[in-house]
Symmetry: D2
Subunit: 376 residues, 4 copies
């Protein structure tokens, strides 16, 4: 019996997860069988095309109509649509896999996590970068103590698609939909990654948010989330374009975080470095097959191409040196989540992990508002 | 009506092409429909598992039995098995897509190209690196004259899986099967890439082949291509471990080529650089999303991440900065070949291109034997 | 008539400045003539050797005895010895060139700057990294508007000589001598560099200081600044091992700063990046001949080797591509300072600039103590 | 008693060596004392200025007049002026340090080496890149067997100052003066470096020389070596713009060499890589403080900043991480040569080493002419 899945959302994330599911049989033949059962959205024309393209059986325009017919809900919609359908699904013991950040507000995230605690459904949150082979290897090295005591974590996630003040407005610039800007969209990844690598939690933060461009033009005929707009109209930007944070981890490490959508020259610069008393690690998503390692007996950083058969996921794909791409993280992630669903084992990262990151995001915003260091 | 394809070979290359075909519908919906009809091999146990895993309808152990039932033969076997099935297929006007190098000898390659000329079948040869987005962009830049007159092409393809003298013998070390070693396996890629980028041909060469390790242990129970062997047995290495070549192109450029399977520290270092009077380009397969460009008005090399929507294949996959992997070259290649099959248009690179590369390989071997510079 | 200079200090910084003065005649023949007149210190044995080695006429063990006989005092001693001799010299209208940070406390720095305002002596503070050719070029590019509006400055200065908890104690770990740790030693450079590049000032900061190792062993017979100690004795570390800061510039840019002496794998990683609406720049002291530039019409960062004849200082040294080293920054700096002394022109950076940086350092410490964002 | 030195030549190389001598007392106090006694040239006006700038006592316009008054002749003139003065000096038992390549013809080089054999003077040839700390470290690693058996040496020396066909003619384009082009100017460095690192010799070569631009404009009023010319006049280029070579070493390694003055985007790209059965090394002169090392127990290349106190020359200069420049190679080279002169010990590389490189250069030219592989 296949697991029947429904996707709420069919654009970027919908394609990425549909592709991941489609690739499982050839590369993860031990993964549970999956039926792409229902695609959920509002635009019937787009849905008609997407159902076919993404290999779904049918579509519905009302998510409440889908929940009875699926085993797993993939909630891939805008952040303010994460809570209600996810909670409803969990109340029906449907498993839920949700895009990050968990929600657009801490309250919504709390409610989602509460729903998860009383449901028989598994939950997952899409911090896909945990599933980069180089990141998995990094975690192993840290767990084995090869870095010694951890002193520093330094993460930045830099993009530049809003560097131009004339770059168009979208729902990602609207606080009521997105919750926050670079902070929740990019910073959430960095915070989860740091906490995952260190197996530790951020305890206190000083946060700084910044909006460089207060309003942006609405593209003709697009009109953002509501469908109206166009022409020379502009809309207010109510989220951060960039943020920075100084953090202390429970275990004592010192962290710095920064993200921006206006860092000219960076397409997808998700970079993290960890320094310990004996060694260090460095990762850059734009070169995702590489992990730079300063070993205890080494002098400088060694560039390790993480594609050997013994490397994480190395036996799943191609011979050494035949590099993977961004989308492979989704395949790994889905294989792990589906395995948890089938086996009943805990999946990490789940809604609790998502909630914990959301608390850090919230603390950063509180800190920025008050101009004070705050506890998470 | 789907195109029915048969694969001769189901290991590394079989998986790579099966994966490519499986991904076309979602990312190249305009590509012709394909039915993975027949898998051809000799080991029934392995075939049984592979048919299922790679999504084929059935398998046969005799290739002659398959040709009548397919529209396209993918010849993915060892080099000495390229000619006979390909020629038989072409004689039946079956389209043939063949792994590189075209054949294990120049004579066999000539016969294959001759068969192609009189067949209604399209042919293709799997120089997949032409289909890296960065390489396509490189070709465009050169065609547009952004490098000016081309002076230098410098290509090397370095691997290290035979650096250890105790690394096991395989059919790739046997001249009667493989034809040559690093030369045909890696050098063929570099030569095709250089000729493709420059839209030019190698005219004269001085070649140097080298076998560092004369015999290698046969792995227990493996026994190479024949299935016997094992224990402390060794077998002679009858191909080159490495080669180098100096070349002159018809258009006047000066080329250097080198490949090795014993270049410690290199997993899959397929690197090519082109220098012209105005600009330069540099590509490294281990960082396949990047193209380093020295522009006419620039001072140094600029690292371009070739993932923008306007970049080659940029509109097919993910937003800018979400990098592709090695296997995507196979998707692009198959999309182009299938389109040629359906439309009847010429496909490049075809058997003529494969033959031309084979002539260069042969010239390099002749030059090495004679200790002289020779014409291609 | 030569300018007579006296050096207070003859170790690392003494050698660096003596070397710089020695090289001026050959490479900056237009620089004023200099007589290395007096070396000032306490250890006569060491002074005897250093006078000869560094090319001085004589030494004294009491700085007050030197001031009458010199035109310029180079104050190269520990931070808590910056104020008194510098002020005394300025009161005698002796020019003063002082190592950074300006002083060990803000109060001392204020007094030094006040003395400078009423003296006929020129002052200089040794922010030598302003004089890296790549940094000079970076400043020119920003001044010419090639980066557009500046959004981000991101500076970190990472070293690892204290990463080992057993690394020995020195005066640099003592607040009463050094004032602060990584903050004043490394962070001062980054702050000055950022302000210099942007021609702007830090306005508000959130600072975070951290001491990972509370006490360190005193090396046998060394005994730090006081000369006693040794054996298995340890001494308390009363300064920061690392700091981080989030900053706002008066002109609106957002800045992040970090420095550490415990960042394993980094010898002298003084890295700064600036992102603007049109372009970006990146510099790393470990590759000091290079400037990475994202141009308005470029796609990625271009590695510019800043050694052309038209580059800053490019006509002073060697043909293009013949790289300079760290010490060349001292030659450039001394040439500029001596020219200001001779001409009576203003030198930058002077004590006012040093004081402004000291105010930022102080604000970072205040912010850390209070757990609040503070104004500079 | 100081060693009295005379320099034949006072431009680029004259400055580089004068600077080196001037820096010895501060950084190599154990080096013999040197008196810059005589500067030798033809242009009195230029000499007058240079004598002062470079710190010489006097100048002469006839080299024969200088030999009696000096202990060491630095022959820094064009290649065709290496033999006669060097031989005359050696006949008077004057030590001779000569720029590379040893001579403009093999015959002249043979005569110079013969003169050296019967003289009491020491000889040295200025293969200064042996004295890069990273290269010294590389040699140590190879000597200690950390790379295992050496398979590959891959050297290229790329510059681009002649990439523009309108770049002006100079004596370096004239065979009668320079002997060869990129081959002798750049290739000589690569060949020496490879032989030095491997402690081995090139045995056979296949060479390929190339002149892309047959004539070049003579700059107004410059007129190259003869002083006439100017206007729209051009002169023939009678040397190679670029060369490539495949080589076999006596010990069995396989080598490839390439140099060009027309490799757009490369200022001074002197790159060498060595691959052995256990490890590899890589060096790039544009980042001369770095050595990339693939260790036996490592996975990829580690970037080692060769500035630690225990590194070659590491105790002579600055603390770790404070990088050196190109000119420091001359300081190290001169310290070693002067020490050999004083002690009577053998200096390497000497005229015999220069002759051996010249034989390789000659073999490359012979091979190119004949279109055959030839013995050195």
């Amino acid at each position: 019996m296949s697991l029947r899945v429904g996707f709420l959302g069919y654009r970027f994330m919908g394609r990425a997860h549909a592709n991941a599911l489609a690739r499982l049989p050839m590369f993860f033949p031990d993964a549970p069988a999956v039926e792409r059962a229902v695609l959920i959205g509002r635009d019937e024309e787009a849905l008609t095309e997407a159902v076919d393209r993404l290999g779904f059986d049918r579509y519905v325009t009302d998510w409440t109509a889908a929940i009875d017919d699926i085993d797993i809900l993939y909630n891939l919609g805008p952040n303010n649509l994460h809570a209600e359908p996810s909670i409803a699904a969990l109340e029906d013991d449907v498993h839920v896999f949700c895009e990050k950040p968990l929600a657009h507000t801490l309250e919504a995230a709390e409610e989602m996590a509460a729903a998860a605690r009383t449901s028989d459904g598994r939950t997952g949150i899409a911090f896909n970068y945990r599933f980069v082979p180089a990141i998995q290897l990094a975690r192993e090295l840290i767990e084995r103590g090869e870095l010694g005591e951890i002193y520093h974590v330094r993460a930045r996630y830099l993009q530049d698609w809003l560097a131009d003040p004339e770059a168009p407005w979208s729902w990602r610039n609207d606080e009521s939909v997105a919750g926050s800007g670079a902070l929740g969209d990019l910073g959430a990844h960095s915070i989860d990654l740091a906490q995952f690598l260190l197996a530790d939690r951020v305890e206190r933060v000083s946060g700084h948010l910044r909006t460089f461009v207060d309003e942006r033009p609405v593209p003709d005929g697009a009109g953002g989330i509501d469908g109206d707009g166009g022409g020379s109209e502009t809309r207010p930007v109510t989220v951060d374009d960039a943020f920075s944070t100084q953090a202390t981890f429970e275990g004592g490490a010192m962290g710095t975080f920064e993200a921006s959508r206006m860092a000219t020259g960076h397409d997808n610069g998700n970079v993290i470095e960890v320094n310990g008393s004996k060694g260090s690690l460095r990762f850059d998503l734009e070169r995702l097959n590489e992990l730079d390692v300063k070993r205890p007996d080494g002098r400088g950083f060694e560039t390790v191409l993480v594609t050997e058969e013994d490397d994480p996921y190395g036996d799943r794909w191609w011979p050494a040196g035949h590099v993977l791409g961004w989308e492979h993280t989704f395949v790994h992630e889905n294989a792990a989540f589906l395995d948890a669903v089938e086996s009943g084992n805990k999946y990490e990262p789940d809604f609790e992990d998502g909630l914990q990151v959301q608390r850090v995001l919230d603390a950063i915003e509180r800190s920025d508002e008050r101009g004070e260091r705050v506890d998470v």
